[in-house]
């Protein structure tokens, strides 16, 4: 189905969700991007379309319309820790495939609290055990950076936004020594 409306796009994106290539609404958005961007700009909402990577989202300059800080931190931290976990599990090539969305990983293989540093970081963010990791991963999927299909995690093109933010915005910190 390609005959969506502006309202469908608004309803999909207004709560912070990101639409990546492969989403049923993607083609409609790309075909009508000029019209949609100018329409939403009149409502003071910026529709950002990163067509070379393949995703889009709403951006708001109104600070009262932002998601809460805790949730934003959680999605950034969990996706980054997740890819480090995938590297540990599947090696560099496995990570290449995961990052490009070619492969998925089973939810139940994700045990982020098994690695000391990851566990410490997650506890700082209030995620105390692995059950909570699983439930957070499920609830955070609504942002569209990753999705969970048949119990497997698949990264979406929009995740590029999170990794770009991490690369550009997090100040350099000296490496810590791994705890025994």
């Amino acid at each position: 189905m390609t005959n969506y409306t502006k309202k469908d796009v608004f309803d999909e994106l207004r709560t912070g969700s990101h639409i990546s290539i492969g989403h049923p609404m993607w083609t409609y958005i790309i075909e009508n991007q000029g019209d949609l961007c100018s329409y939403f700009s009149e409502l003071d909402i910026e529709l950002e379309i990163v067509s070379d990577v393949g995703y889009c989202y709403f951006k708001t300059s109104n600070s009262s319309d932002l998601i809460e800080l805790k949730r934003a931190r959680l999605i950034v931290a969990m996706l980054n820790i997740l890819i480090l976990e995938v590297k540990n599990l599947n090696g560099d090539e496995g990570l290449d495939d995961f990052l490009t969305g070619r492969t998925s990983i089973p939810m139940d293989s994700v045990d982020l609290h098994n690695t000391g540093r990851f566990s410490k970081a997650l506890k700082q963010l209030g995620v105390s055990d692995n059950d909570e990791v699983q439930s957070k991963l499920k609830s955070l999927a609504s942002f569209g950076f990753h999705k969970i299909v048949d119990g497997r995690i698949v990264l979406q093109k929009a995740s590029e936004r999170i990794f770009r933010y991490t690369r550009l915005e997090i100040p350099k910190v000296d490496a810590l020594e791994e705890e025994e």
Binding site: R14, D65, L66, V76, F143, R161, Y165, T166, I170
Partner: protein, 416 residues
């Protein structure tokens, strides 16, 4: 003084001691200089049944090896031949190819200058030009050879690069990046239609075309210009074809390298983020990412709903609601109602002069001539308008109208 060695002997010695030469070339390529004694020692271990001094003296006599004090090196052309034979010859970088073309093009411009000099005789000019043409031919030949050689090197090295990807990712990234960025990309730049070299090439073609029909030049010069033009085009095409093949071969590897570089960068950033959370935990992604959570406007938010419910308790019943009086309708009464021609006909099936009939109808006493005309001439379903073309034109007017209408009478007929 060594004896004079001919082609056959030279080729035989190089062939016989090719492995030793390759061993020396490989060491030279890794930046190690070998001494005569070190090479002698190597010969002893590899070929214990042959006197090593004899091997080295044969190679030195054949000019395959050059002795420089105590150090020893393989002669340049021989080293190139050995690399070529061992499928590991080096690429001619794109920048060098561009430089050779530039040199050829500037030589052509020089020929034009020589030709227009008034101080030299035609014979002198021809001699100068011949010399330059010879130099250019050599350069173009070298370019064509390098183009083919580059393709061969790329094709043979791409499979070994794929293997290297499994063994050493960083080496793989370095080698493929070098191949793409230094050997292939510069060629793409100068092949671009708007590049300086392309524009020079167009100028050079124009110069050579004009020399080939220039009456000041003699037949030999004109013929040389023709040949040169042909060779430049031929060489350019060979370099272009070779470049296309190299792109096709290396592009998938380069894309892979880009992906790998991106993965490495993502891993490093993720590691840094983990360290940041453990030590500082002060990042604020919600402002920079600006991820929204927009409530639909004009709907109650939770507080508004609470507040609305609370104020409901203060509401008092109204005893009676009185509808206010309307203001005067005088102005509304002054507006003529629109004329409906079917109502005006009032059951009549035909009227021979519609305009006359409507003007004189009692209902239209206050209507203007324009309003009457609109009623008559507007299309209505079920009503035929027939203009009596054979009749004379008639003038219609109305007391309250400043206009008159001059037209042939219109018969109005109700369709059965």
């Amino acid at each position: 003084m060594g004896r004079v060695i001919g082609f056959n002997d030279r080729l035989r010695y190089i062939s016989k001691h090719g492995r030793l030469l390759r061993w020396i070339v490989e060491r030279e390529q890794s930046g190690k200089s070998l001494t005569y004694n070190q090479t002698l020692e190597h010969c002893r271990t590899v070929e214990p049944n042959v006197l090593p001094e004899n091997i080295l003296s044969q190679l030195i006599d054949a000019d395959a090896i050059i002795l420089d004090g105590t150090l020893l090196r393989v002669n340049g052309p021989v080293a190139s031949f050995i690399l070529w034979a061992s499928d590991s010859s080096s690429m001619m970088p794109g920048s060098r190819i561009e430089q050779l073309f530039t040199e050829v093009f500037s030589q052509v411009k020089k020929i034009q200058e020589i030709l227009s000099e008034s101080s030299s005789t035609l014979r002198q000019k021809e001699a100068h030009i011949k010399e330059r043409v010879r130099d250019m031919t050599t350069k173009l030949l070298s370019l064509r050879g390098s183009a083919d050689e580059n393709v061969r090197t790329v094709i043979t090295s791409s499979s070994s690069l794929r293997l290297l990807k499994e063994e050493d990712r960083f080496q793989f990234i370095a080698k493929v990046s070098k191949l793409w960025e230094e050997d292939i990309d510069p060629i793409s730049e100068f092949r671009d239609i708007s590049s300086a070299l392309q524009s020079e090439r167009r100028d050079v073609r124009h110069i050579l075309e004009s020399i080939s029909i220039n009456p000041i030049a003699n037949l030999n010069i004109r013929r040389d210009a023709d040949k040169l033009l042909e060779q430049i085009d031929f060489t350019w095409d060979r370099v272009s074809i070779a470049h296309d093949i190299m792109i096709k071969e290396v592009r998938p590897l380069y894309k892979l390298v880009q992906q790998m570089k991106s993965t490495i960068s993502i891993i490093n950033s993720a590691e840094n983020l983990v360290n940041h959370i453990i030590t500082l935990n002060s990042f604020n992604p919600n402002v920079i990412l600006s991820i929204p959570s927009i409530r639909i406007s004009q709907l109650f938010d939770d507080l508004s709903v609470d507040s609305f419910i609370l104020t409901l308790s203060d509401v008092q019943d109204e005893s009676e609601y009185i509808i206010p009086q309307r203001p005067s309708t005088y102005e509304v009464d002054q507006i003529n109602p629109p004329l409906d021609i079917l109502s005006l006909l009032d059951g009549k099936t035909q009227v021979s002069d519609g305009m006359e009939y409507v003007i004189n109808h009692p209902f239209t006493a206050n209507h203007s001539l324009q309003e009457c005309a609109i009623a008559v001439y507007s299309q209505r379903s079920g009503l035929h308008l027939i203009i009596n073309r054979k009749s004379k034109r008639k003038v219609y007017s109305k007391e309250n109208s400043e206009f008159i209408l001059e037209s042939k009478p219109v018969t109005l007929e109700i369709k059965s």
